[in-house]
């Protein structure tokens, strides 16, 4: 579904992602782990158009997407969330979710004046759906609160709600579990699994919480120093010598 070929991205003298190649299979929940500074988030930023790769190709559903702008990549049905949530703080939770559908009629200035009835009709459909999605992630009671006033964990759920609303084929999650309490975490894991099975969404996620990774992801890809180090089932990864060395520096062998 997603194929990354020899991608390279450097910042000045620092090469964050170097000759990195990997692939994500359709319908999978693929984990991406690696020590700090391995280039995981940079890789996500390159995939989603936040940075242009210096070299290499990114192929999504058979199309080259490297060098496209973020909103163009979104239109290819790929969505990403951020390590530190980036909600629209001064907008309500419901507005945050209703923003997501692509190419709304009412997003054209002209239509807001001259095609008011179709704008209203679509707005009703979108609102209906947004309420369903908020029901699903159990944020419905907070729909009229400012998104900025939610707790860290609730913001993660809001991110999930927004990604559902976008109806993507693939979602890239950057540390969905960071700062989330265990109860909420179980809910998050259950939601991701459900979305993968019911809506056939492919997930590719960065995570440091090994419980979450081992529970949820298959396969797991390990990155170190800007390239792919290993790939396999969670059990294979746990036993992989190279992975232990990358994480622990080798002295524990």
């Amino acid at each position: 579904m997603l194929e990354i070929k020899e991608v390279e991205k450097s910042f000045g003298g620092l090469t964050a992602v170097c000759d990195c190649s990997l692939a994500v299979q359709e319908g999978s929940i693929t984990g991406l782990i690696g020590p700090n500074g391995a280039g995981k988030t940079t890789l996500f930023n390159v995939i989603t158009g936040y940075y242009k790769p210096d070299r290499g190709n990114i192929i999504f559903q058979g199309q080259n997407i490297d060098g496209l702008l973020p909103h163009q990549i979104f239109q290819k049905k790929m969505y990403r969330t951020f390590q530190i949530t980036r909600e629209f703080a001064q907008m309500t939770v419901l507005e945050n979710v209703m923003l997501m559908p692509d190419q709304q009629i009412g997003e054209k200035l002209w239509n807001t004046w001259f095609r008011a009835s179709s704008v209203r009709k679509q707005e009703k459909v979108i609102q209906e759906k947004a309420l369903d999605v908020l029901e699903f992630v159990e944020l419905i009671d907070l729909k009229d609160e400012y998104a900025g006033s939610l707790s860290g964990g609730q913001k993660k759920l809001l991110e999930l709600a927004r990604s559902m609303m976008a109806e993507p084929k693939m979602v890239l999650l950057d540390e969905p579990g960071a700062g989330v309490n265990p109860t909420l975490m179980r809910k998050l894991i259950a939601n991701i699994k459900k979305l993968c099975e019911e809506k056939k969404i492919t997930f590719f996620l960065i995570e440091h919480d090994m419980d979450l990774v081992m529970n949820l992801c298959n396969p797991v890809i390990v990155m170190s120093e800007g390239k792919k180090l290993a790939e396999g089932t969670p059990d294979e990864i746990k036993k992989d010598e190279r992975v232990l060395e990358a994480y622990l520096g080798g002295q524990y062998r």
Binding site: F88, L94, M100, W113
Partner: protein
């Protein structure tokens, strides 16, 4: 002053405040909803005023042409002046937007400030364009023959209020719709809005152009009110900063607040003029600066104690279907 004089004075005050309210509405689109830091309002003020002057006055002929130079004069009615001012400001905003909207917001501020001063200086120095520092005179006023010229201001107040309300309604509709929701998302977090599939450059451009068109109409309304314009009007103080103070006072992100702020601050500005009449003789020469100082202190007080302004943004703005 007898009662008729007081009413006439209040009417002229209401006209000027109404014209400033139009500028505030334009700025509110750009800053209040999109976060575009435009401190070059005076530039669009200037362009709008000159555009309508050139459109609605005839090109001087004969002897008169020796004294008044202007690039063209179409001698068209008021309404074409307004539309022309809006369109020309929109086109200029579009051209300005191409290089500057890719800059961060502080750089946009510097660029717009510089561009506004450039326009003023061009009109000041290029005599062939619009008569240089002497400016243009004799702009027509709508529905002029209807009443005694002494009472004309009542008519103009109605014209200004109608145009202000039309602009208010069209902005409200757009802001309550998904279009406004995207603008606010861009204001809150540009990167996140881009990752949510919104073409941020396009929306910022639309906001800049729409806001500039509204400002152009404001400039045109001003020009037809005073009937004479010259470049020295469009200074950063009268053309830009007082409008910012108005929007901040009324509540950025709220269109009713933008209008309210214009009336309140203009009232204070005029009131301060009366107060400075009581100053001792030695300070009188400095009265304009003292007024300026007062307004700036007012801005500080607002920003510290009531940063959301008198009205502030409503919690839920996308309420098209409620």
């Amino acid at each position: 002053m007898e009662i008729g004089g007081i009413i006439a004075y209040l009417v002229s005050l209401a006209i000027m405040a109404g014209i400033y309210a139009v500028f505030c509405l334009g700025l509110n689109i750009q800053w209040g909803y999109t976060g575009l830091f435009n401190i070059g309002i005076a530039g669009f003020f200037c362009i709008g005023a000159y555009a309508t002057a050139l459109i609605t006055t005839p090109k001087p002929t004969g002897m008169y042409a020796h004294y008044v130079q202007q690039i063209f004069g179409l001698n068209l009615p008021f309404i074409f002046g307004l539309l022309g001012a809006a369109i020309i400001c929109g086109v200029i905003a579009f051209l300005i937007g191409i290089p500057t909207l890719k800059l961060g917001e502080d750089y946009l501020a510097i660029a717009t400030l510089g561009i506004a001063e450039t326009f003023r200086l061009i009109f000041n120095n290029e005599h062939w364009l619009a008569n240089g520092p002497r400016g243009l005179m004799g702009l027509p006023q709508p529905l002029q023959g209807l009443v005694d010229p002494r009472h004309y201001n009542y008519i103009y107040l109605i014209v200004v209020v109608i145009i202000m309300v039309l602009i208010y309604l069209s902005i409200e509709r757009a802001i309550r719709s998904p279009w406004g929701r995207v603008l606010r998302a861009v204001r809150e977090d540009e990167v996140s809005a881009g990752m949510s599939g919104k073409d941020i450059f396009r929306f910022k451009m639309q906001s800049l152009v729409f806001g500039a068109m509204v400002m152009g109409i404001g400039g045109a309304l001003y020009a037809h009110y005073t009937k004479a314009i010259s470049p020295d009007v469009f200074t950063p103080l009268y053309g830009t900063f007082i409008i910012w103070v108005m929007l901040m006072a009324g509540g950025s992100g709220n269109n009713k607040g933008a209008i309210l702020g214009a009336y309140v601050v203009w009232g204070i500005w005029i009131g301060a003029k009366f107060m400075t009449d009581f100053l001792p003789y030695t300070l009188k020469a400095r009265a304009p600066y003292i007024r300026f100082l007062l307004v700036m202190i007012l801005l500080e007080i607002i920003l510290i104690y009531r940063p959301q302004g008198l009205l502030g943004e409503e919690k839920k703005v996308s309420k098209l279907i409620e």
